[in-house]
Symmetry: C2
């Protein structure tokens, strides 16, 4: 097929950091983390935590958000997400603080780490290195330092497998002890990479801005897809969740209607959604179409955790192909780099 030939040429020319290989290595990233960390013990004894506080920014928060969402029916305590410089006031010795920065250099997370030390809170650090790894080692606090062999791209958002598996292992050793759920390492062997459906999708929405819609166990997928579209595909793609969006967003499309050809509404759908949500997917899609927007429905098969993994693979590949179709290197984030330089002054 000629389109495949073109794609091969695009990959050769623009994917210099092997982002495609990183996306295809999701399962290997997870398995690698299990090999490295599953046998570790954590020094918290029989303490019962009342909440988990996860600190991470951007790509480094996505893996945890994914695990928190797909394992929600089995979580015995709330997981509070922090994307900021400070721990919440309620953090105390019954809180488990998990600090995650892929690079180990994120200033917000270094600040949270220092607060956790000052307040002597139980903590686990997840990172590939940097100042964060040094600080955790010096303070003798638990550290999951992974070697990102299977993320040749070096981009945190494409090393999600390492971050999610590390977070999952930390939860398994502290709060997620009851069972009854699919073990992450079992799920991951059953995932089919979604490269070809993602490529077909990318060709359809190429050049448009997107609205990403998810629900229930695909909520984090909507968030992750949105971030990947921003970063890899340079595509504006805010995400919204059902049933909440039905209570306000439909009116808001008014100011987009004159530009509606430049927009596509994408539903992450599932046969495993409960009937009330399925009905909302259908009806909400109908409203957007009556407003003149193009809509797309993406769905997957398998258990809920398998479906979420398939959606992850789909989103990774779709944003990757959208970058290639624009003749861009999907690994480059020039504006984020520009901002970092400016902030360093």
């Amino acid at each position: 097929m000629s389109s495949n030939l073109t794609l091969e040429r695009l990959v050769k020319k623009y994917d210099r950091q092997r982002v495609g290989l990183s996306i295809a290595s999701l399962s290997r990233q997870v398995e690698h983390s299990f090999k490295e960390f599953m046998r570790r013990t954590l020094p918290f004894g029989t303490r019962k935590f009342q909440n988990v506080i996860f600190c991470g920014m951007g790509g480094s928060a996505l893996g945890a958000d994914f695990i928190r969402t797909v394992y929600e029916p089995w979580l015995p305590v709330p997981i509070h997400m922090v994307s900021d410089y400070h721990l919440p006031a309620f953090a105390n010795k019954n809180s488990l603080v998990i600090l995650c920065s892929y690079s180990g250099t994120t200033e917000e997370i270094l600040s949270c780490f220092k607060e956790a030390r000052l307040r002597r809170l139980p903590s686990v650090t997840i990172t590939a290195g940097g100042a964060l790894a040094r600080m955790a080692r010096r303070a003798y606090t638990p550290l999951f330092q992974f070697t990102p062999t299977y993320n040749p791209s070096g981009q945190p958002r494409i090393g999600t497998g390492y971050l999610m598996a590390s977070f999952y292992i930390a939860l398994r050793k502290t709060i997620l002890t009851k069972g009854g759920f699919e073990h992450l390492s079992n799920v991951v062997t059953k995932i089919k990479p979604q490269a070809s459906t993602a490529y077909a999708f990318a060709q359809k929405v190429f050049g448009k801005s997107l609205v990403i819609i998810g629900a229930d166990f695909l909520r984090a997928n909507a968030h992750i897809f949105s971030n990947q579209l921003n970063e890899s595909a340079k595509t504006f793609a805010p995400f919204f969740l059902l049933p909440e969006l039905d209570h306000h967003l439909l009116e808001g499309m008014g100011s987009l209607r004159s530009a509606r050809r430049h927009w596509a509404i994408v539903f992450l759908d599932s046969g495993a959604y409960e009937p009330s949500i399925k009905k909302r997917v259908r009806s909400t899609r109908h409203v957007f179409e009556r407003q003149g927007f193009a809509t797309h429905r993406i769905s997957f098969s398998g258990t809920r955790v398998q479906q979420a993994f398939s959606a992850l693979s789909f989103g990774g590949f779709a944003s990757y192909y959208l970058a290639l179709l624009q003749h861009r290197d999907p690994s480059l984030i020039p504006w984020v780099d520009f901002l970092k330089k400016r902030l360093a002054h």
Copy 2:
């Protein structure tokens, strides 16, 4: 001034439900709730709650989100927000469940109420009536049923004062007992309505779609402003938070750049932000301007709770004036009504 004459005419012609009066009555709504509920006692004895679970959709969730955000430094336990049909798995007798539906007819919240009863969880219900009030009364569970005298528009999103004050009172009587913070009823008497600055702003951004950016104690304000712009002003206006957005959104503006004249980026700024956030506001704004977008910086004075209230008044009026400038009744939400009819089939 001729523009004021025009405005008066627009109000007379399009504000048939007195939305403007409702927005100007924010303080009165709060005071009214204090009179009705501050002397109530709740039957939870000396129980120490480990978390609060708030259930509310759209406009009915905004008041709680506001209180949760501005009182964050004083919260002794996490507040988990549910905008869905189900309570989280971790809900137990040490959780305080707060169920809020302005109309008392929201199907998601009725579902959460039933789950709270089945699981015999401590709960407080906040509503103006409907099935929710009947169910709470029949089950002998605490009920704050307000009479929305000062919201003649009847729209939940413009009755925020009732919802936030009721939620605040419920927290004061359960978890927010330590003091050291500004009492809501004291703050509210010091708020200056932001009608004129909001009108000037509305004229500047009229016809555009918006990106709303907030941080720290104005995070909920960004969310509320976004929802009000959707519903009252029929304006697409997703919100993003600093420092998180710096980690991905800047690249995502790529697909909007060809339409950048149709977009405005609005920063809710504050002299009370910490230096690192102030620096990010400046630098992030600089990036958007280099990308060719128009940016606006809105800021307020007073304590942090006062500033958040001013921002609330500003957002309410700005979305109201944007509707009037479009020659629309700001109270009407035809697509939400259309969807509800379709879902009822």
